[in-house]
Amino acid sequence: MTQLVWNGLFVGSFYTLVALGYSMVYGIIKLLNFAHGDLYMLSAFTGFAILGAFGGVPASMGLLALLAVLLVTMVASGLAGVALERIAYRPLRRAPRLSLLITAVGASFAVEYGMRAVAGADPQVYPVRLGGTAIEVFGARLTLQQLVLVGAAVALMAGLNLLVTRTREGRAMRAIALDPRTSSLMGIDVDAVISRTFFLGSALAGAAGVMAGAYYGKIDFLMGFLIGLKAFTAAVIGGIGNIPGTMLGGLLLGLLESFGTFWLGGEWRDVFTFGVLILFLTVRPTGLLGERVTERV
């Protein structure tokens, strides 16, 4: 049973990192960024390219080298998110909500198949792998590397939370989420803040992408699709637009999947997961910690 909990928390921390970007973007401009999962994919490939460019990394340096690559990739992924917003979403800021949504789907395919054209359709394998030997804790097998990954995820989430609740930048983001027009009248550069929000959210997805690449080893051009949907589900469960809620949602989704697989069998995992999504959307569309919103996509 502890194994199930651990499996769930581990997968859930990946979901959370990706879901945060979803949630922040929705919170601030009410857009479901369906290309968000593909930024995760994009950064997995960026990390792969960087590691490849440096050639073989000595095994002992694996973790440190990965941390450096993680930081670089987060910046790159953040910039990709900013570019995506600039090219695909900003010109449509005043267009009906549906146009934005369709653009997001289009952007998602453009990124996926663009990557396929560049890197090929074959799955690639990371040169640095975080394997490690398992240790037993309360009857669950876990590795030091898993703990490091979860620790890194928690640190990133904590950092984000501080940034949003304690800084000027965070206050500006919250203000725009409430009312973009009034915020701009108050002297906030709305476009710049939206860009920075995209940067932060995409950088977090980027971190998840590199971590998944290094841990699972296999990356391919479609890897962002399913995790994008799962992250969306996690955001809905916790309360889309609400940062602590999204963190809770991601971990809960990981646990739900883990226990759902155990109770119902593997073939029911996605049925169960997306069934929960539908249940939340109908019964409590604001999620566990979300507040009442009057307008939704």
Binding site: N7, P123, R141, G217, S258, E267
Partner: protein
Amino acid sequence: MRAIPLKSIAAVAALGLLASGCGQGLLGQESGGEQHGPIVLGMLIPQSGSEASIGPYMSNAARLAVDEINAKGGVLGRKLELKTADDACDAQSATAAANKLVTEGVHVSVGGYCSGATLPTLPIFGKATIPMIIPAANSQELVDQKLEHVFMINGTGAQQAEAAQKWIAGQGGQRVALMHDNTSYSKDIALRTQSSLGAAAVTVEAVTPKESDYSANITNVLAKKPDFVYWTGYFQEGGLIVRQLRQAGYKGSIMVGDGSVSPKLAEIAGGEAAEGVYATMTQTPDTLEGAKGWIEAYKKKFNAEPGPYSNQAYDAVRLAAEAVGRAGGTDGAKVIAALEAIDGFPMFSGPLKFTPEHTLAGGGFQILVVKDGAFALQDSLS
């Protein structure tokens, strides 16, 4: 909802009638031109979507065969021409692609990788009396309808399950866990192996493809304390499952099905974890005696290693050329008769003769094992 499929079936049928009408009804110039132009082979392969990596292996090998035959003067003095179309491993795309090939005047179909995508194309080619030589897709469902124009040159799921059961029993597997990905091909093999193993099969676990983390499924499987795990899906998930099984502390034997036989499996699993993994597989260029020359030719032409199913695709083209040659033309019915009559045609999987069901008389399944990161022959099971 009901009207749309009916309409599209009608459209497909009309199209098929039109195409077959062209072949037989309009004599004169039409058929005169037909007998002199190139012999057109159509190949449905995944070029996009999740299985996109397989497409090039197959189309490259087919092109190699076409070029070789054309260099020797073609068939009946006519050149071969290869037309590929993308089925995206998806039923809808496959239907559209098959219709496209039929309207482009394909004479023989030599494609088919995903069983689920190949299945809906059977009636489309059938209506136009286009013989189908299916190189890779191998679900029993393809031949269960007993369509006379459908030929499979790959072993069937039943034959693979039989080979798996034989090897597992020989290895003394007492508690066998079967894992599949819920696709027609994979589930078929897993369930057939389960029923032939009887009580020794302790659990059947289905996983969702395209995920990265299978730890929940693996926790389920390991709770049954298996000493043999058989994964029947594709290599993308197979590599991850092998790795995650070992990481979870599983020490017993692991075996994978033919969809997982790819050098990438060992790469994804990571050196240590993949060592000693068995596989049920038909003959591949790597394990064939005397295929060295062919591998060299392939590498020289495409600057790449021949991947899975390249030898079957190559054989499918050669077989199509042979049958058209024997039939003395591209008339569908005659080509089908020629295919049925073939006995002893040399292929990579051995001399070919079709069973009455249009499958290989001998399955030709063998057991491979991962040694130093590559699949090597373990037992030919003969």
